[in-house]
């Protein structure tokens, strides 16, 4: 049992994109606000704060979920992955190379304003691990947990399906690199 008293901050430690990070937070602080305001990881966006829009979706211990629908204190000791971790680092900063999902989103114009994109990428990254060869309907069901007001979804669906196909090919060793 551990008590966190109101109006008091406690150190919260989690592994953010593979790096251990720690910052103080009150028990009532949402994970989304903790990531953005305390850890400076502003890639995760905050939309509705009641679980509908999906913009704040991150992966906690690998599982896609809303960061606005849990407390930072609940993520203490957990592994949290956000959009910042999708790029493949080749020396850090501007030198990073976009991950395959991000490249496909760019190629297919699967974003316009980009507000919803971080959440969609995190859902998609978990989804493709669970369902490596999805049908279009499965992709659309997964995307139903995300609101995008720009794209009409078609290009997002195409991008996710293309990555699934590419990864399938890569896994079977038919092409060298995706």
């Amino acid at each position: 049992m551990k008590l966190y008293e109101k109006h008091t901050t406690y150190p919260i430690t989690l592994t953010l994109n593979g790096v251990q990070r720690s910052a103080p937070a009150e028990a009532r602080m949402l994970l989304s606000d903790f990531l953005r305001h305390e850890l400076g990881a502003t890639g995760t966006h905050v939309g509705c704060e009641h679980g509908i829009c999906g913009a704040c979706t991150v992966r906690v211990d690998g599982v896609a979920q809303r960061s606005c629908m849990q407390l930072a204190v609940q993520a203490d000791g957990r592994r949290v992955d956000t959009v910042e971790g999708l790029a493949v680092s080749t020396g850090g900063g501007a030198d990073s190379e976009l991950g395959d999902l991000q490249q496909a989103f760019k190629r297919h114009h699967a974003l316009q304003c980009g507000f919803c994109t971080a959440g969609i990428l995190m859902s998609s990254s978990h989804f493709l691990e669970q369902v490596p060869a999805p049908t279009e309907q499965q992709v659309r069901d997964m995307l139903s947990g995300h609101l995008c007001r720009c794209t009409g979804y078609t290009n997002i669906v195409n991008a996710v399906l293309e990555v699934a196909a590419q990864r399938g090919l890569v896994n079977k060793g038919r092409i060298e690199h995706a």
């Binding site: 049992m1 008590l3 009641h50 979706t57 599982v63 606005c68 849990q70 609940q74 139903s144």
Partner: protein, 272 residues
């Protein structure tokens, strides 16, 4: 908006949880998956003085078969039940219902018992528990009591849970031999709250229809194997008994229409 301040306690076991509830009474609110509660905290519809987080209680995180029931502990997520390979053979109705519950990302964290305890009249899991006449186990410092679904649900967001009690587990009866199941829901968009949701169980002797999203709690009706005009009349009477209310999403008349149309279609499907 952001939640109002509260004391937060991370409990490590069910025993510890009921001891905390015995000490703090109505001040304390249970937090499991938080997929209904966090939304209510964020808009300050709920402002509990204390949250007792049971999501890390290992002794509440279980799914098992026991005495002809699928038994689900308070910390088990919806996704962990949904992804159970044998679910369709064990509780077919539950297997049909999961894709309709909110969205994947919510089911990844939300718990089955949490949805039952929240008792939203349009939620699918309370409907499913009522349709199958499942049970809810309530535990307090003093002991346990077991309630049937129709005793547990008492109204909109109202249940038989007393101060000091937690929903420790829910029990969904396993597939009945020769029974056939069907489910259908109407909502504005996939994952939205149901305007009307219907579950049907057809056996050699009976037709059971359960409706969610219309009355203040799921309502179940059981008939002999009626057909034709008799069946239509019975469904129509049931549709009126539900005392549907109109709201921003649908009129009362439309809800009655859905009960009649979907009810007839589902019964035909399950009887075929």
């Amino acid at each position: 908006m952001k939640p109002a301040a509260f004391d937060y306690i991370r409990a490590d076991s069910a025993e510890e949880t009921v001891s905390l509830l015995a000490r703090h009474g109505e001040e304390a609110k249970i937090l499991a998956g938080g997929q209904s509660l966090l939304a209510m905290l964020n808009i300050r519809l709920a402002q509990p003085a204390m949250l007792v987080d049971i999501s890390r209680c290992k002794d509440l995180d279980y799914i098992r078969i026991e005495k002809n029931n699928l038994v689900i502990g308070a910390a088990a997520t919806q996704a962990s039940v949904e992804n159970r390979a044998t679910l369709a053979a064990e509780v077919p109705l539950l297997d049909m219902v999961f894709p309709w519950i909110s969205h994947l990302q919510i089911r990844n964290r939300g718990t089955v018992c949490g949805s039952i305890a929240h008792a939203d009249p349009s939620a699918e899991l309370p409907l499913c528990l009522t349709a199958l006449q499942g049970e809810v186990v309530l535990r307090s410092k003093a002991g346990r009591r077991v309630l049937k679904a129709d005793q547990f649900f008492q109204g909109m967001l109202m249940t038989a849970v007393k101060p000091g009690e937690i929903v420790e587990e829910v029990r969904f009866p396993l597939r009945r031999e020769k029974a056939r199941y069907a489910f259908e829901e109407m909502s504005m968009r996939h994952g939205d709250f149901a305007i009307a949701a219907l579950a049907v169980v057809v056996t050699d002797a009976a037709i059971e229809l359960t409706v969610g999203g219309v009355a203040d709690r799921p309502q179940r009706k059981c008939w002999p194997r009626l057909a034709g005009a008799d069946l239509e009349g019975a469904i129509n009477d049931f549709a009126w008994e539900l005392e549907a209310q109109g709201d921003a999403h649908a009129s009362a008349e439309y809800r009655r229409h859905l009960v009649r149309q979907l009810g007839r279609q589902l019964i035909a499907k399950a009887s075929a």
